[in-house]
């Protein structure tokens, strides 16, 4: 899976179900070539069939549907580019339900939405993006399957000197990355680790494919001594995890030096890239002092599911802050002013008014990511709609129900303040039990506001 030669297949098909077999067979073929197993191939083919059938019926007919199948390293992605037409994508909501008994007039539409619901549930992730006026891109991904591995609890004392490098392609580096991921999974709280650390082959493949960038520290004997990894978050920032240090005595000078070397090399690596900002919502206790700034903290449930524990968020700019503008509902202004002042950020705060009801579509759409291991759900509004408040409340309920016997997940909601319509949703968000907690600078198209559902622990 070389990172620099992505495999990709693109078809432009008329929005006509007569071409459904073409789309489905392309998906099946691509899934096999791109490395999905039989189950994954079936999932992808089914999703493509259902999405294509739905879009043939409801998308704008003036242009062809563009179907792109691509290999993402550890997953296969399908993307449909289409004109909005009469499309309602509410069935893609995590909390969506289709009521087939709602009445004969709408039965056909409901059945079509059922197909959409099936497609979204069979894939591992779905998202929507606007790509210009009236043009949307619907994306779904199916992951390759990787075995879970038990974290490694071998105690080790590092031997100086420590060297830090970017892992190169090849089995040796892949093995070291897997080893490092398992050491980190054992030494650090689950919350501080990417989920892929528990499926280390997946983590190594993500690095090879460029989904993650990583820095690996090794001691004089070549043993993994530390790890720091990062990925893009929006077009202007990177989000990092770590640094992870694998010395049995974390207070040793050598352990601290390893963390410092990782942080320094990380900043050198990203300093001359497109990224303006680096941040972490799960920094480890080994982050060297004075290198990152505090954005504040979230209050998450404890590791054992009981009580609460603060989760700090850190960041730093990678170049001089030139200021910027954000949209803000008037109710949110005091929070933003206070936070920007604390952070010494210069921002023009623009007033965002709620969209007039007759200008919005009936149904909203929220993206949901749920990490069961970390007990954390993150919601993002994708499309505005008249049912936004109801839909958001339904998501909170659905996420709590997902927990079944265990504690409910912590629920966060990210608002991109570059979008006035998102900023204008704030009263509905507040009304649903969310409170503003953090600003993540440049983490979206602009700054992201992180709201937390405060009754999630009740």
């Amino acid at each position: 899976m070389p990172a620099h030669s992505p495999q990709c297949l693109t078809l432009e098909l008329p929005p006509d179900v007569a071409y459904l077999p073409t789309a489905a067979s392309a998906a099946e073929n691509a899934a096999q070539v791109f490395g999905l197993d039989r189950n994954g191939t079936l999932k992808l083919s089914l999703a493509v069939e259902e999405f294509f059938a739905y879009l043939c019926r409801f998308a704008g007919r003036e242009e062809p549907l563009r179907l792109t199948l691509s290999q993402g390293g550890t997953f296969v992605r399908v993307a449909f580019r289409f004109r909005a037409g009469d499309v309602s994508l509410r069935a893609l909501n995590f909390a969506a339900q289709v009521d087939l008994a709602s009445g004969p007039d709408s039965l056909s539409d409901q059945a079509a939405e059922l197909g959409l619901l099936v497609a979204s549930r069979t894939t591992d992730r779905c998202s929507m993006e606007s790509s210009g006026s009236g043009v949307y891109v619907l994306t779904a991904e199916v992951d390759r399957q990787y075995p879970e591995a038990a974290p490694l609890c071998t105690p080790q004392f590092l031997i100086p000197p420590i060297s830090v490098s970017r892992p190169e392609d090849g089995p040796l580096a892949k093995g070291l990355l897997q080893h490092a991921a398992l050491l980190a999974a054992e030494r650090y709280p689950v919350r501080a680790c990417p989920a892929s650390f528990f499926r280390p082959e997946r983590f190594a493949d993500m690095v090879t494919a460029g989904q993650y960038q990583a820095l690996l520290a090794q001691d004089a004997t070549g043993k993994p001594a530390g790890l720091l990894c990062w990925r893009a978050s929006g077009p202007k920032s990177v989000v990092f995890s770590g640094p992870y240090v694998f010395d049995a005595a974390p207070d040793r000078v050598l352990a601290k030096e390893t963390a410092r070397l990782l942080a320094e090399r990380f900043l050198s690596a990203v300093a001359r890239t497109e990224a303006v900002c680096a941040f972490s919502e799960r920094p480890t206790s080994d982050v060297p002092e004075g290198w990152f700034e505090s954005l504040g903290s979230l209050t998450l449930r404890g590791e054992d599911g009981e009580g609460e524990s603060p989760q700090a968020a850190l960041f730093r700019h990678l170049r001089e802050d030139v200021g910027g503008a954000v949209w803000c509902h008037p109710d949110l202004t005091p929070f933003l002013e206070r936070q920007y002042n604390l952070l010494a950020f210069s921002r023009d705060i623009l007033k965002a008014e709620p969209t007039q009801t007759h200008h919005t579509t009936e149904h909203s759409l929220l993206a949901t990511s749920l990490d069961r291991r970390r007990g954390l759900a993150i919601l993002r509004p994708l499309l505005d709609g008249q049912d936004f408040a109801t839909n958001l409340a339904a998501h909170v309920s659905a996420l709590k129900e997902q927990a079944q016997e265990g504690p409910p997940p912590d629920i966060l909601l990210h608002l991109d303040l570059s979008e006035p319509w998102q900023a204008a949703l704030y009263p509905a968000i507040r009304g649903c039990g969310f409170e503003p907690r953090l600003i993540l600078p440049h983490a979206g198209a602009s700054d992201l506001l992180v709201c937390q559902h405060v009754t999630a622990h009740s």
Binding site: E12, E63, V135, L267, A271, R272, E274, H317, G323, S346
Partner: protein
């Protein structure tokens, strides 16, 4: 639906970061809500241009702006030739040294070639190479200076240019004559060696290797100099390259003509006519600024690096970008060094005492604030 623009763009351009210059003063002052701004971020000479250059600027007749400038900076090259005792054809003038860097890389590099420079130096060598699709081999500094031996070891059959920033921006370190000679003998004419002497006039030491003299013994050496630093003509953008006639002739083939404007050409030529006193005054100003700042950095317990040049780098007790924002709120603009791969360092231009005192006062405030945990 039309093809997405990104699909038309070569991968090395898609991966490249566009340079974002700082905003104009008025916009920054509005943004940071301050009524003044000391620009200490670009190593500009705060004394302004030498007297003869000032007179050229003051006497510029607006109707002259209607005519194209000399396409190849004819008179400026004549003046440079007289100044350095060389054929004017051995000089090529550009719109600042950045343009000349691009011309040299275009002239000598082909697909698969590489350039060699330091990892922590003026970023434009690396940027131009990479957005042109050539590999930039970056050699870590040793003792804050260019590592000549490591640069030689990094050479291979596809190495076309070695860029040596002497003195180095931002550390101010420089190679002495012996080291330069050893390095050039090691290169043995296998590649072009660019000596970027943008800050040469700030060095007053007999052991400094003068590129204008070196190029007569090592034919593969070309020298960059600029009117933006010592001569305080940064706003007019005039820089030049000097080398052997055949090398400069090849560079000229890739170079844009008419890129240096009608005001910059005569002002630069005039600046060379009466520069002795200007250079002495500037060096004195820089020395006084160092005498004020460096003991203060010691007093604050902050490590610093300050060699040749009109700038000093100081390590900060928090992220350099936080220090930048806090200083901006106090009307002082410095350069953050993360982009130079010196995270948690800032670089400050060395200028007149009143401004240096303002900087120091604001810097002390911010350091105290950070140490007391009052900053973000």
């Amino acid at each position: 639906m039309s093809l997405p623009i990104a699909e038309l763009v070569p991968p090395h351009i898609r991966a490249f970061e566009a340079y974002v210059p700082s905003r104009p003063d008025a916009e920054l002052m509005r943004t940071y809500k301050v009524d003044h701004l000391h620009r200490l971020n670009n190593n500009e000479n705060a004394l302004g241009p030498p007297p003869a250059a000032r007179r050229v600027l003051e006497s510029f007749e607006p109707p002259s702006a209607a005519a194209y400038p000399s396409g190849d900076c004819f008179f400026l090259r004549q003046t440079l030739g007289e100044r350095f005792g060389k054929d004017p054809e051995r000089f090529l003038v550009g719109n600042g040294s950045c343009e000349v860097i691009a011309s040299v890389i275009k002239a000598f590099c082909d697909k698969g070639d590489n350039i060699i420079t330091a990892d922590k130096t003026f970023a434009v060598y690396e940027w131009v190479a990479e957005f042109s699709g050539f590999q930039a081999r970056l050699i870590p500094l040793r003792n804050q200076g260019f590592d000549s031996e490591a640069m030689l070891r990094a050479m291979n059959g596809r190495t076309k240019i070695l860029f040596v920033c002497n003195p180095n921006n931002p550390t101010g370190t420089w190679w002495k004559r012996d080291e330069m000679e050893r390095f050039l003998r090691g290169v043995a004419g296998r590649a072009i060696v660019v000596l970027d002497e943008a800050y040469r006039e700030y060095v007053d030491d007999e052991d400094f290797p003068d590129g204008m003299e070196i190029m007569e013994r090592h034919k593969n050496v070309v020298v960059f100099r600029t009117f933006s630093k010592m001569y305080a003509l940064a706003g007019l953008r005039v820089g030049y390259v000097c080398g052997q006639k055949d090398a400069v002739d090849y560079i000229r083939r890739t170079h844009i003509v008419y890129s240096v404007n009608s005001l910059g050409q005569p002002a630069a030529a005039a600046a060379l006519l009466d520069d002795a006193e200007h250079i002495r005054s500037t060096q004195a100003m820089v020395a006084e600024a160092k005498a004020l700042l460096l003991p203060a950095f010691d007093e604050l317990g902050l490590p610093y690096v300050c060699g040749a040049g009109n700038f000093a780098m100081v390590q900060t007790p928090a992220s350099d970008s936080l220090i930048y924002r806090q200083l901006m709120r106090r009307g002082v603009m410095v350069r953050t060094m993360t982009g130079f791969r010196f995270p948690n360092w800032i670089r400050v231009s060395l200028v007149q005492q009143p401004v240096m005192r303002d900087f120091l006062s604001a810097f002390r405030d911010v350091v105290d604030l950070v140490r007391q945990g009052g900053a973000a």
